[in-house]
């Protein structure tokens, strides 16, 4: 029983990190129909900037805030310099641009912040919390709690605010949205800034547990993308469900079957889901999205 509980805790922690990454994918997909492969780099950048700042003596809360602001700015710059000039290109081209952006970000970080791994101090200590024979790091609670808050915040943003509704409208039909007065340019800019900030939040939350390095974004991005597809692209609930399920399946496989199959099982499962239900667990068809 305590083994199951431990695996459950591990799965939830890993799953929450995947979910945070998946949310960023969904966000930009909602605004533009683009899959932003630079999302993983936003996560990495958040963790790296915060780690570098704390290492240089800045207090942790300040470093975390600064990292989120810096990464949000990077998101805006990326949109202005790379995405906006190509906004008339088709979706595939923009997706390829995001892959290019991810390489540039990774390269710049490699050169400026070094190739080594960095760790961030845990937010509230490293003493594990014992629960029913299993242990949980306080940082894991941070990850889960912040993920929940972010999801709630996004639900309010998309459902209740003018800008949020504008983003959804633009995603559905850009021309129509423009005709009813939505500033389409601003929508895309906002969504990139938000997604980048979201990535940074994930990055600083994960960095104490997982450590971070210039190439950490690749794996986090990939797992986030899989989680988002699994849960249904564009759906907030789907991103969370996809991430948590992916994390749980991975740890349960490692715990009860074999760690050698840990990475294979979720990918196979995703393939099955996509065949049976192509839009993912919670994804809605294009006509239902708005």
């Amino acid at each position: 029983m305590s083994q199951f509980l431990q695996l459950l805790f591990s799965g939830l922690t890993v799953g929450a990190t995947y979910a945070l990454s998946a949310l960023g994918f969904s966000m930009i997909y909602n605004a533009s129909g683009v899959i932003n492969f630079a999302q993983g780099e936003f996560i990495m950048l958040g963790g790296m900037v915060a780690a570098v700042l704390t290492a240089s003596g800045l207090p942790l809360p300040l470093a975390v805030l600064a990292a989120i602001v810096v990464v949000a700015l990077v998101g805006l710059i990326v949109e202005k310099l790379a995405i906006e000039p190509a906004r008339d290109a088709d979706i595939t081209s923009i997706i390829i641009i995001t892959i290019g952006v991810s390489m540039i970000v990774r390269g710049v970080v490699e050169v400026t912040m070094g190739k080594g791994s960095r760790a961030l101090p845990h937010f509230s200590g490293e003493t594990p919390i014992a629960l029913g024979g299993a242990t949980l790091l306080p940082q894991s609670l941070w990850v889960m709690a912040v993920t929940a808050v972010v999801v709630a915040g996004l639900a309010v943003f998309f459902g209740r605010t003018r800008l949020g509704k504008g983003i959804l409208a633009t995603a559905h039909n850009r021309l129509a949205a423009q005709l009813v007065g939505v500033d389409v340019k601003k929508v895309l800019l906002t969504s990139f800034g938000l997604a980048a900030a979201l990535g940074a939040v994930g990055g600083v939350l994960i960095a104490p547990i997982a450590t971070t390095s210039y190439d950490a974004g690749l794996m986090l991005g990939l797992k986030g993308f899989v989680a988002a597809t699994f849960g249904g692209l564009g759906s907030g609930v789907g991103a969370i469900a996809g991430g948590v399920l992916l994390g749980l399946i991975e740890t349960m496989t490692a715990g009860y079957v074999s760690s050698s199959y840990k990475d294979a099982v979720p990918f196979v499962l995703v393939l099955v889901i996509l065949v049976v239900r192509p839009r993912g667990l919670f994804g809605l068809g294009p006509s239902e999205r708005v």
């Binding site: 083994q3 431990q6 695996l7 805790f9 591990s10 799965g11 922690t13 890993v14 990190t17 490699e110 190739k115 080594g116 791994s117 960095r118 760790a119 490293e126 594990p128 242990t135 790091l137 994960i206 547990i209 997982a210 450590t211 390095s213 190439d215 950490a216 690749l218 794996m219 991975e250 740890t251 349960m252 490692a254 715990g255 760690s259 050698s260 840990k262 990475d263």
Partner: protein
């Protein structure tokens, strides 16, 4: 990617030539293919810096046989497939006298057929046993092998009366080669492998695998075989789960970064490593003391960063070649090869090297020191 670093700067060599006409002879060309960028950069970068630094030092001291050294370096970007092409270029276009490198085992094995065919001395900086077993005529290597690491750990376990080992290995090339060698040599050492778990090099959590090990009755020690940040996460997870079994790591984590990333969780961890890591803690009577303190200081002065054992492998390779050239009195490739094979009592950062016709690495278990992390510092166990 195709950056060619010509260390013998034109201006420098011009000044040298005008100063002493005897140095006007053609330079000795040292070729190298290293993973200075990409995932293996933490290995390749210190190697590249070390070669650059010591080629300059050798030249400043008058060169080799009165000739300057010229370094030609290619970066394979940690892509083993590219190493082969660069080796070809070094042999056919640059016409180098020796090739040092192959940061990774993959890159090294990609170059082996070319250097064997091109009949050129080749000293690899990669770890796996396959490089020198079976022995290949032109291929040598400087780093310790993973088999030696496993044997050293088994010897230490025996001393502490431990026989049941849980193995956690990384799915990277290094981890899997280590896993293979550990399992292969366990029976002979009287060690029983009771668990065989793996994790991915970029995994963020390994508690699932460790929970399984924790639930196993009779486990007496844990060995983690991996490189870089993975083992640090495993170490933190072990502390999180409250597992107090003796914990061994491989030589793959013998750098300050591991202690920094793992923090307090690394207390009491033991691992086999080269003397370089504990340069200051070595007794003055140790034959390696002057070499490792000298190299550590030179590296730290030049690059303002901590030395790692990996850069030491490059130092050893360059110095073994220089030593062989001096003994051979020529750069003739066949004669230098024979001289490298006849290396005896060469003291490097990795240990005392005694090559034989059937041993192209020349290190024994004494080259490894068993270290324990105490108070965030490396200490010698024996």
């Amino acid at each position: 990617m195709q950056k060619v670093v010509k260390t013998a700067l034109a201006a420098l060599s011009f000044a040298a030539v005008t100063a002493s006409p005897s140095l006007a002879a053609d330079p000795i060309k040292i070729g190298s293919v290293l993973s200075a960028t990409g995932p293996a950069a933490f290995l390749g970068e210190p190697e590249a810096k070390t070669l650059q630094l010591y080629v300059e030092k050798v030249n400043a001291a008058g060169g080799l046989l009165g000739r300057k050294l010229e370094l030609v370096t290619y970066d394979d970007g940690s892509d083993a497939a590219k190493a082969n092409g660069f080796a070809k270029r070094l042999i056919e276009d640059d016409k180098v006298d020796v090739i040092l490198g192959g940061t990774t085992t993959g890159a090294t094995m990609g170059m082996v057929p070319l250097v064997e065919k091109g009949e050129i001395p080749f000293i690899s900086l990669a770890g796996a046993v396959v490089i020198v077993e079976p022995t290949k005529k032109w291929v040598f290597k400087t780093p310790h092998t993973d088999r030696m690491a496993a044997e050293k750990i088994f010897a230490d376990m025996k001393k502490r009366g431990l026989t049941k080992l849980a193995l956690v290995s990384e799915t990277s090339g290094f981890g899997q080669s280590g896993r293979k060698e550990t399992i292969a040599s366990a029976a002979k050492a009287g060690i029983e492998i009771v668990a065989d778990e793996t994790y991915g090099p970029k995994d963020t959590d390994v508690t699932a695998q460790l929970t399984k090990i924790k639930g196993l009755a009779g486990t007496q020690a844990i060995l983690v075989f991996g490189l870089g940040q993975g083992p640090a996460i495993v170490t933190k997870n072990i502390a999180q789960l409250g597992i107090t079994l003796p914990h061994y790591e491989s030589h793959g984590v013998a750098s300050e970064e591991y202690i920094k990333l793992s923090g307090a969780a690394a207390e009491g961890v033991r691992l086999p490593a080269a003397a370089l890591i504990v340069a200051d803690a070595l007794p003055a009577s140790d034959p390696q003391k002057p070499v490792v303190t000298g190299y550590a200081k030179a590296y730290a002065d030049a690059f303002k960063s901590e030395v790692s054992t990996f850069g030491g492998h490059a130092y050893d390779a360059l110095m073994i070649y220089a030593d062989a050239v001096k003994r051979a009195g020529t750069t003739d490739k066949a004669k230098v090869r024979d001289a490298i094979e006849a290396t005896k009592g060469f003291v490097g950062t990795g240990g005392v090297v005694n090559m034989k016709a059937d041993d192209h690495m020349g290190l024994d278990l004494s080259a490894f020191r068993m270290l324990e992390i105490k108070g965030g510092k490396w200490t010698l166990v024996d």
